[in-house]
Amino acid sequence: MDRILRGVIKYNKTVKKDLVEQFKRIRDNPNPIAVMFTCMDSRMLPTRFTQSAVGDMFVVRNAGNLVPDALNYGESSEVSVTTEPAALELAVKRGGIKHVIVCGHADCKAMNLLHDLHLCPKEFDACSPMDNWVRNNGYKSIQRLNERLHSGSKSIPFHSLVSPSQSFEALIDPFDKLHIHDKLSQINVLQQMINITSHEFLKEYLESGKLFIHGMWFDIYKGDDYLFSKDKKQFVNIEESTITELMSELERRCGKSIMDSFVKVEEN
């Protein structure tokens, strides 16, 4: 705890002044780009990995970057009131963001647990909030994992019932380089993208091209950030050799001028 307090002192001396200036600027002109759902893992530093500035992204972090499906959400019995749909409403309706990003990562403890519970259902502890949270919201990812294990190098479908335009196909780890937990972690990211589309209040935004959902995955050991390309049906490592093609796909799908963002980079 001492370290955290000393950290605040260091922040006071270095970063604070600049940050207060930035806060003033965005107060008059807030322009958030995205809401990112990512994991609470201590190795995840989402704003550092994307070098994002103050005001760029709303960040929601929970155990396993899970977003409850609408069928698990609501006010009648058997369903839940959780923060994730509220966060989507805040960011989309009030914050005006156009992009939702789900970002998973390698060696995710929640995914490890999800898989363990799948292999040994008797281990499920009804008194454990973690077991409940992960099983309630992760079972569809397990279903997709089983499909992947049976389909080998063929793609598997991710269907959205509420917004069919948001459905896509995915080739998960076609060369079997990843541990099964990491396969599950990548599949889980894609499944959360579908869960997001299950919320009725977002349907109009999605169908009219005012909102886009993206999947990212961070390999913490290599420092590599992957973006899911619906064109390629795969997670693609974001680097010099792939960025142009990734940008083209984004421009085509999300209709934003690529020149805008290059200008921003020059300014920075």
Partner: protein, 255 residues
């Protein structure tokens, strides 16, 4: 703008910070020792790692709308008013499996969730049953609103009482005695402290709390001044963390 900006950020990350970060990852990967669970708001102006200058592996970070942790009575898998939410799961992961010693709840000024909560309080008719935000806030913001009313109607400036089953975790608080804050920011501070009461209500944490294996702290970030404040149980108020106060605050925590 758009996602292109984020992709460009990743390229910048690769050119600058990444090599250093991978080295840090190597150190923590097999033997991570996070010290804390930091619970804060999803607001785009909040940057937990920057405000505390923390590194890879230092803190678990939980972020939601309004930095709220449901009270145990609003949590569960059976019945109408209870839900399986992530916050108790996050506490379990960090405390039982991550073995952290400190849980910090950090609120902030100009919080949109708090502003909405206050709006619902002033105009209950505005409650929208189709709004997940309204449901989330109404269900979990009730105690904070009650305490706000106590604070506002309090001519003697008596402190607010936060009660826990375990007396070790009960405390009193004087909220904004100088009346420098807006009513919403008062509510934000009250709400931040309320989460400490909520956290200590969860049965699965009981042993850890009783044996003082975890400590609960409240912080509050003032977006206008950039000041990070910490709640001091001794002083019964939020204190700005600076050169003058840091030793005193550190002493208090270590006792």
């Amino acid at each position: 703008m758009g996602l292109q900006r984020i992709l460009n950020g990743v390229i910048r990350f690769r050119k600058t910070v990444r090599a250093d970060l991978v080295k840090q990852f190597e150190k923590v990967r097999d033997d991570p020792h996070p010290t804390a669970l930091f619970i804060t708001c999803m607001d785009s102006r909040i940057l937990p790692a920057r405000f505390t200058q923390s590194q890879v592996g230092d803190m678990f970070v939980l972020r939601n709308s309004g930095n709220i942790v449901p009270h145990a009575q609003n949590y569960g898998s059976a019945g109408y008013e209870v839900s399986i939410t992530t916050e108790p799961a996050a506490l379990e992961l960090a405390v039982k499996r991550g073995k952290i010693k400190h849980v910090i709840v950090c609120g902030h000024s100009d919080c949109k969730a708090i502003n909405t909560l206050y709006g619902l309080h002033k105009c209950p008719k505005a409650f929208d049953p189709e709004s997940p935000m309204d449901h989330w806030l109404r269900r979990h913001g009730y105690s904070s609103l009650r305490k706000l009313e106590l604070r506002l109607s309090n001519p003697d400036e008596k402190p607010l009482e936060y009660i826990s089953n375990n007396a070790l975790f009960s405390f009193s608080a004087l909220i904004d005695p100088e009346n420098a804050l807006s009513v919403e920011d008062k509510l934000s501070q009250i709400n931040t402290l309320q989460q400490l009461e909520n956290i200590s209500s969860h049965g699965f944490l009981k042993e850890f709390l009783e044996r003082k294996e975890i400590n609960l702290h409240a912080m509050w970030f003032d977006i206008y001044t950039g000041d990070m404040q910490m709640f001091s149980k001794r002083s019964r108020r939020f204190v700005t963390i600076d050169e003058d106060s840091v030793d005193r605050l550190t002493n208090e925590i270590n006792q």
